[in-house]
């Protein structure tokens, strides 16, 4: 089990009633997909707001960043960066800059 830091976008912080950063425990090996699974397990109200409930496909205007890299288009079995796994860097779930 690994504990990682996750930063949520403002709308989802309000929805989950949490602060800017949360920690979640994820199963080993820690991957992009298991991180998202852990966030949704810890905060069920976020199910469907980050990924499509049926397909787990990332919603179009959501992005995943870590260690200055865009992981949005990576597969769910992508290993998380070591710095995220070690808790030195957060995993960022970001609302894309779009709209008005």
């Amino acid at each position: 089990m690994t504990t990682i830091r996750v930063v949520l976008p403002g709308h989802l912080r309000n929805l989950a009633q949490v602060g800017p950063e949360v920690t979640v425990d994820i199963a080993d090996p820690p991957t992009l997909g298991s991180a998202l699974d852990a966030v949704e397990a810890a905060y069920p109200v976020l199910r469907g707001t980050i990924r499509d409930r049926g397909t787990n496909k990332r919603r179009a205007f959501v992005r995943y960043f870590a260690c200055n890299e865009d992981l949005s288009h990576e597969p769910p079995d992508l290993p998380l960066p070591d710095e995220v796994v070690r808790g030195r860097e957060p995993f960022l779930i970001v609302g894309a800059m779009a709209g008005g």
Partner: protein, 371 residues
């Protein structure tokens, strides 16, 4: 002491407006869910403190909120609107088949008798129901699987199921309307549906009198006359007196019969209200004058109601779910605009004043009469 609670959904949050029965002094609470699109909020007739709200954004999809204390506090409930069967296709804008995809909830219609039972009209058009207070939602697939489904196509706002009317005299009878498929009725609690569009004529579709394909904007009913419905279609104001089997036009002397909202006086089943909009190309009032029109004759003969409404340089729209009517002894009429105003007439439409002027664009207005 009686009063009213007005639930306002806007492009950037929800607002709760409350007043005593005088409807002169208002308390404004909000925004709730700031920054989210609030397509619709509606309270349970069986328990006015139970309110359901549709919350969504293009970023994060659909959330459903429920209040058990009249809108003071809220709790997110279920947001899984999975179609009950493998969705087929409907027509896309270019005429090609397009898979049914859930986008958002446009309208909640709580049961007349059970606070935990609510119907939800969604885009892409389908009817869902919860019987556990919103925790889980089940589709009534007979509507989507009506044989005409592959021929339905979206209106400009999406293929939305926006109107749901529960017959107070027959629990198995429900009316719904879809843009741009038309109106449908079930007489068996949602298992099977029939199109009820006979008498509608719509230019812009190949067969003007087709069984489906009409852009119905909204439908209203007076509970004492469940077989009589009034419809604001894309163009034309329509009426049926046989539960939708036959419609006739009652636009009469309206200056334009394009519009979105329509509603019926709480105590006078033949008194009907619309807000004429200039045209399908120009979604604002005629001549920059915001006018409600009232018919006391069930249509055909209409009078403009303008006292207190802006009569110059007004170019707002009034969207389909943005009119509501209370049931106090002197019936109050409410509507909201895309300019962010919510107007109230405490005297059946004779005079108006703005409760609020500058909210985000109003998507829906529902009033609860509190006794």
């Amino acid at each position: 002491m009686s009063g009213v609670r007005v639930l306002v959904g806007t492009r950037k949050g929800a607002f709760v407006l409350t007043s005593d029965e005088g409807r002169k002094n208002w308390q404004v609470d909000g925004p709730h869910f700031g920054g989210w699109e609030m397509y619709h909020l509606k309270g349970s007739p069986a328990d006015p403190d139970r309110i359901y709200a549709s919350q969504s954004t293009g970023w994060h999809g659909q959330v459903v909120q429920r209040s058990d204390d009249g809108g003071k506090s809220w709790k997110a409930v279920g947001n899984d609107f999975s179609y009950a069967t493998v969705p087929g296709t409907h027509q896309w804008y270019d005429g090609t088949p397009h898979p049914w995809e859930f986008a958002r909830v446009w309208h909640f219609e709580p049961s007349l008798t059970d606070p935990d039972t609510v119907y939800a009209g969604v885009e892409d058009a389908a009817l869902f129901r919860t019987v556990d207070g919103g925790q889980t939602w089940q589709e009534l697939p007979g509507l989507r699987e009506h044989g005409s489904g592959p021929h339905w196509q979206p209106g400009a706002g999406g293929m939305c199921l926006h109107s749901i009317i529960l017959d107070p005299s027959d629990a198995d009878r429900i009316y719904i309307a879809i843009s741009a498929a038309g109106a449908f009725r079930t007489d068996d609690g949602g298992k099977s549906w029939k199109p009820i569009n006979k008498g509608l004529r719509s230019q812009g579709i190949p067969d003007e009198e087709a069984e489906v394909g009409h852009c119905v904007h909204h439908i209203a009913m007076h509970p004492s006359r469940p077989d009589t419905l009034f419809m604001q279609k894309h163009w034309d104001v329509m009426r049926t007196d046989d539960a939708g089997d036959n419609w006739r036009e009652v636009s009469g002397n309206l200056p334009t019969d394009f519009g979105f909202v329509i509603d019926v006086h709480a105590h006078e089943p033949e008194t009907v209200y619309v807000v004429p909009i200039k045209s399908d190309m120009e979604h604002y009032p005629l001549d920059g004058k915001l006018q409600v029109f009232r018919s006391r004759t069930g249509g055909e003969e209409w009078e403009p109601l303008t006292k207190g409404l802006p009569q110059s340089n007004c170019y707002v729209d009034v969207l389909r779910d943005s009119m509501s009517i209370d049931s106090l002894d002197e019936c109050g009429i409410y509507f909201g605009t895309t300019g962010g105003a919510v107007y109230c007439s405490p005297d059946g439409g004779d005079s108006w004043s703005a409760i609020v002027d500058n909210l985000p664009a109003v998507l829906s207005v529902e009033v609860q009469t509190l006794r």
